[in-house]
Symmetry: C2
Amino acid sequence: MPIGPSIAEIAALADDPARANMLAALMDGRALTASELAYTAGVTPQTASGHLAKLSQGGLLALAKQGRHRYYRLASPLVGRMLESIMAVVAIEAPPRHRPRSPREDALCFARTCYDHLAGRLGVAITEALVEGRHLVLGEDGGEVTEEGAALLRERVGIDIAAVAQGRRRAFCRPCLDWSERRPHIAGALGAALAERCFALGWIVRLRDTRAVAITTAGRPALRAAFGVDLR
Amino acid sequence: MPIGPSIAEIAALADDPARANMLAALMDGRALTASELAYTAGVTPQTASGHLAKLSQGGLLALAKQGRHRYYRLASPLVGRMLESIMAVVAIEAPPRHRPRSPREDALCFARTCYDHLAGRLGVAITEALVEGRHLVLGEDGGEVTEEGAALLRERVGIDIAAVAQGRRRAFCRPCLDWSERRPHIAGALGAALAERCFALGWIVRLRDTRAVAITTAGRPALRAAFGVDLR
DNA sequence: GCGGCGCTTCGGCGGGCGCCGAAACGTCCC
DNA sequence: GGGACGTTTCGGCGCCCGCCGAAGCGCCGC
C-alpha cells in the first residue's frame, strides 16, 4: 500500500491556481457560492463548476444547496489545517519578490482572520508585542503565556487564561506561519480568544465580502494601550 | 497578490505519485540517495532525477552531496508537517477499500516512526490505552496528561512529564492522524519522549532501510506491563 | 408559464508534464 | 587509467487536464 498515490490525489486537488484560490478564499470557514468562487478564482462559471465538482468529490469541500445557489465550504477543519501548512511552506521559501498589490490585497495583508484567529500585520504585531514584553514564549511548535502575560490579558483584554486553557482539548497556543508577513502569529485557543475579545470590544470589525478586518477608531488607542501595537 | 498560485506551486510538487512516494519515504527525517528514492517511487533513475530536481528547486528537499551519492532529505520540519496534514485529510475521507498489502507494508502498518514519534498500530494502541486509562486527555488539536498519567509515565517508562513540558517551546502533546489506522496517535514533545524511551529501554528496534520498527522479545511483556498493550 | 439567473454538462482545442532510452558527467576502486 | 557505478541531461512520445463556447437543467419572480 504505497501511500504516495493517496497523497498525490489530495495534493492534485490543490495544484491548480484556480482551485487553490478557491480553497484559500474558503479558509475562514465561510460558505461561498459557486459564482463567488468563480470570480475569486478568475475563471468562468463553467470552469469553476468543474473545479468545484473535483474538490467536492475529493472530499475537500462540502456542499449546501439553497434555492438556486450552491454554497461550498471546507469539508473539515483538517482541510483548513492542511492549507495552512501548505501556506507555511510557501512562506518559508518565499522568494523575496515584491509584487504590486491592489487595495483589496493591502487590506488582507494589513489584518484578516485566519479561521478563528487574527493574521496579517495586526496578528503578527500583537504576537510580537507579547513576545517582546515577555508575556508570551513562542516556540516553533507551541507556546505558553507567562504570569505577567496572564495578568495583562486578564486586565486589559478580559481573557481568563485558565478558562482558555480549560481541558486543553485543543492546542492552547500554537504558532501559525503568516503567509503575508512570513512570521508567526498566534493560533489555537489563545488566538481564538484574542480575536473574539477584539471583536467583542469593538476594536476591530470585519469588512464585507472578505476575510479582511479593520481597526476601529476606538480600537486604535485601545490596541496601543493593551499591547503597545500602533499600526498605520 | 492572489495567494492561489503559490499554494498551487507547492501542491503541484506533491501531486505526482512518484514524488509523493519520495516525500513519504523521507518523512522520518532520514536522508536517502537518489537511487533509493527512485526504487521507492517505482520509477527509473532518470525519471527520479527529474522529480528530485523539482522538489529541490521547489524548496521541499535539501541536498547533501557525499562522494558519488546524493542524499536528499526534507528541507524543513514544516515540510513534514505539511505532508502529515495532507495524510490526515487522506485518512478522514479514506474510502474503506481494503487493498492487499505486502509484508513490507504490513510491517509499516504495524509500527513505524513518524518523525520522532511512534505511529501505526503500536502508536495508536499506546495512545488509546493511555486515553482509556484516563492517563491522557486527547482533543482534536491538543492533549494533556492527567496526574495518574504523569505517575504512570514516570514509574513505568521513566518519563519526567515536567521536564518534557519544559518551556513548552514545542507543543507538549498533539494528536497526529495516523494514515494507516485512521485514528490519532501522540505527537509533539510527549510523543518524542515516548518513542525515545521505548528505543532506549530496548522495547522496540528500527528495521533496516525502512521507517518500520519491531517490538523486541523483551519489549512485548514490558509494553503489556506499562500500557496494557499487547499487539500480535 | 415565461423569462432570467445560477449552475452544470458536453465537446473540442491546446499546452504542459511524466515517462523512458540514450548518452554524458563525475566519483570511486582496482 | 580503465571500468563500474551513481546521477544527471536531452529528446521525443503520449496522455492528461484546464480552458472556454454552447447548450441543458433547476429554481425563482413577475
